[in-house]
């Protein structure tokens, strides 16, 4: 007993020390060494995309095949994860002081990671290497400096049924919200909902509406929420109005991956992502063959197409910064991103690629590429990781409950300020 108690205490003591030093080293990520030297060494890439055997072949065969030819002294180990578990991977990696040399992550994650010095700044010249639309690089920046390059984009657009429009005698897609509301009402017949804004994440949906209404999320320095103004409230109120009209119905939203309302014909318009094309092609190829689907960019005071996607960045603590930098650049070349986009039905965010067969064939991707100047993105504050999680829980009660749009937005503003205050 005595012996055991002692060994127990010893174990706890030793372990705590290890854990605490662990926290210590994890945070000591100093500025990366210069990336000017020769690209060599063994580096690790963490990626939530290039899924499965096909993705692996694409990445390690096609994409990295070329990379190996150009940089024979760099060995790349790939750590595949899923989007759902990406945060856990990054959190544990950071805490353990073992962040992969090159990381791929979502839009909106760059400012928090850049602000804490976890990812390395990239030279501005990389922004000029390819024909980037200026807006597309916005999510890659923090404080005006470049920290990441886009690999694939996914945009939020409105998809509609051309046959329903024709049936109702509607000739053109709505150019502002009053038209949208009227058209939605008109299309709400035969048990259909005119407009389904609820089958994508409410956060991204509301943000698209906020931007289309000329609103903004945060001030340029990321210190102040700006969505609390009338523009923000109107965006949320618009959903309530649609519900009151009967032309949108929260209870008829569909889950990701399940056939959506425009696919089943139970809805005439919906907010969705550009990736819906692939799903329709698989589940309802006849809709594409018969040209029954159309898409447009949401607009009110201005057109706005919310841009999400996957970016590639370089860890600030990489031991082989030159090799890591080379890989970042390589993964963002037009050839690399076209393959990645094609595998998952995403938008390759470069105009150079607008004439490729893939883009021509996928109408949602084509529309997105043509409208990149209207791309808007979420984030913009170092406290974004926390704030983004508050949006759905705070705004949803205004849609399914009795809370007013004004109160819900005010509450969200309060939470956002508290989160920014904690930074």
């Amino acid at each position: 007993m005595e012996l055991n108690r002692r060994s127990l205490l010893a174990a706890i003591g030793a372990g705590t020390a290890a854990a605490l030093t662990g926290c210590g080293t994890g945070t000591g990520t100093s500025a990366a060494g210069s990336a000017d030297g020769p690209a060599e060494g063994e580096i690790t890439l963490l990626t939530p995309i290039y899924e499965g055997a096909k993705g692996k072949k694409l990445l390690e065969g096609d994409i990295l095949g070329g990379f190996r030819k150009k940089y024979p002294d760099v060995k790349v180990n790939v750590d595949y994860t899923t989007y759902d578990q990406l945060n856990e991977k990054i959190t544990t990696g950071l805490a353990g002081g073992l962040l992969p040399d090159v990381l791929m992550m979502g839009v909106g994650w760059i400012p928090p990671f850049a602000a804490k010095g976890a990812i390395a700044e990239l030279p501005e010249k990389l922004a000029e290497t390819h024909d980037y639309e200026k807006r597309v690089l916005e999510p890659s920046r923090h404080d005006g400096k470049l920290y990441a390059l886009p690999v694939v984009l996914d945009t939020r657009i409105v998809v509609y049924r051309k046959d329903h429009f024709a049936e109702a005698g509607i000739r053109k897609t709505p150019a502002n919200w009053s038209e949208l509301r009227a058209v939605a009402k008109q299309l709400t017949t035969k048990g259909r909902v005119g407009f389904d804004p609820f089958s994508i994440n409410l956060r991204q949906c509301w943000e698209t509406f906020l931007f289309a209404n000329g609103g903004q999320l945060f001030s340029a320095d990321g210190k102040k929420p700006l969505f609390t103004d009338a523009r923000g409230v109107e965006s949320l109120q618009f959903f309530k109005d649609l519900v009151a009209d009967g032309s949108a119905d929260y209870s008829r939203k569909t889950d990701t991956g399940a056939p959506s309302n425009v696919q089943t014909g139970q809805g005439s318009m919906m907010m969705t992502t550009s990736a819906l094309w692939v799903q329709v092609k698989e589940q309802n190829p006849e809709l594409i063959e018969q040209d029954k689907l159309g898409a447009f960019v949401l607009a009110n005071r201005r057109p706005a197409m919310l841009q999400g996607g996957t970016l590639v960045s370089q860890s600030a603590s990489s031991k082989h910064p030159a090799a890591a930098r080379a890989l970042v650049e390589w993964l963002a070349t037009p050839e690399s991103i076209l393959g990645a986009a094609q595998q998952r039905g995403s938008v390759p965010g470069l105009r150079d690629l607008s004439d490729t067969p893939y883009v021509k064939e996928n109408q949602f991707v084509d529309l997105s590429l043509k409208n990149l100047q209207h791309a808007v993105s979420e984030g913009g504050t170092a406290a974004w990781m926390e704030i983004r999680e508050k949006i759905v829980p705070t705004l949803e009660p205004a849609i399914v409950g009795d809370q007013s749009a004004k109160d819900a937005i005010a509450e969200l503003g309060r939470l956002a300020e508290a989160a920014i205050g904690r930074m």
């Binding site: 706890i12 372990g15 705590t16 926290c23 959190t91 089943t264 829980p393």
Partner: protein, 280 residues
């Protein structure tokens, strides 16, 4: 004593130590990117302001209150029925245990389809008898019952299995003696079976309560805590704080609350059951 040592050492290192770390971190601000910073009771103060977390505590208790007793009762009844010399009992047992063996993530996705308001199985069956079913998972009043149903469905298998194992170890002689004395089956159940099952019941009660308090996968897949936070639970909030918001210190503080609540419930249960050492 030596026989407990390996398990105890293992638990000290892989659970004790993390718990210790969690307790320490609960009083810090720790975002993984910078070193933990001692902030006193700030996390607990923030929690008082956190309406969603409060809601999650209520939801967790409600969920536990409905899944545990129903699940236990069903598990016991099924175990009793399948303990008999029924033909095909193996098939019945497997059917009941099946939900337990499949990864929650995949099977929760199936439930998404079953609950689908448009063409889901549930509403298709209801329309058969002329009822227009609701949108189960997107209605603030139906989402929780729907999640509870999945919880019961998934938990019965394990409860049945443990009761079944416990029934197997009961001495037959007692029943033979009781039969000779002319005690009815019902009487035998209440005066022999139930008291002898006490250790197993205590086990099932405590572990089901703990796992109900920690349900995560169903929520993650089925509702994401919505609509309007009507199904969010404590573990889900802890997960969000730690891994989505990078507020590890706050998540640890939330875990402490969860721990204290569970400990409280466990002690109350132990009082009610009057000790754990069988029918002493």
């Amino acid at each position: 004593m030596l026989m407990v040592a390996p398990a105890l050492l293992h638990a000290s290192l892989w659970i004790g130590l993390p718990v210790l770390a969690a307790v320490v971190l609960a009083f810090t601000k720790y975002d993984v990117l910078t070193a933990p910073q001692f902030v006193g009771l700030d996390n607990f103060r923030d929690m008082l302001d956190d309406a969603v977390f409060r809601k999650s505590i209520v939801n967790t208790v409600v969920y536990t209150f409905f899944t545990v007793p129903f699940g236990m009762l069903l598990g016991l009844l099924l175990a009793m029925a399948l303990h008999t010399g029924l033909k095909a009992r193996g098939i019945f047992r497997t059917a009941v245990f099946l939900p337990q063996v499949t990864a929650t993530v995949a099977i929760a996705l199936v439930w998404l389809w079953i609950y689908n308001p448009g063409n889901g199985l549930f509403n298709a069956l209801l329309s058969f008898i002329g009822i227009d079913g609701p949108a189960w998972l997107s209605s603030t009043s139906w989402a929780m019952p729907s999640v509870i149903l999945v919880g019961i469905w998934q938990g019965i298998g394990m409860k049945m299995l443990i009761y079944l194992a416990a029934l197997q170890s009961l001495p037959r002689e007692l029943y033979e003696a009781a039969s000779v004395d002319g005690a009815s089956k019902v009487r035998q159940f209440f005066s022999i079976t139930l008291p002898l099952l006490k250790p197993a019941t205590f086990f099932v009660l405590i572990t089901s309560m703990i796992s109900a308090f920690q349900s995560f996968d169903q929520i993650y897949i089925l509702t994401d805590g919505g609509p309007a936070n009507s199904t969010t639970m404590m573990t889900y909030e802890i997960y969000k704080s730690a891994f989505r918001e990078f507020r590890v210190g706050y998540a640890c503080a939330q875990s402490l609350v969860l721990f204290v609540l569970l400990m409280g419930f466990t002690l109350v249960n132990r009082r009610i059951m009057g000790g754990t050492r069988g029918h002493s």
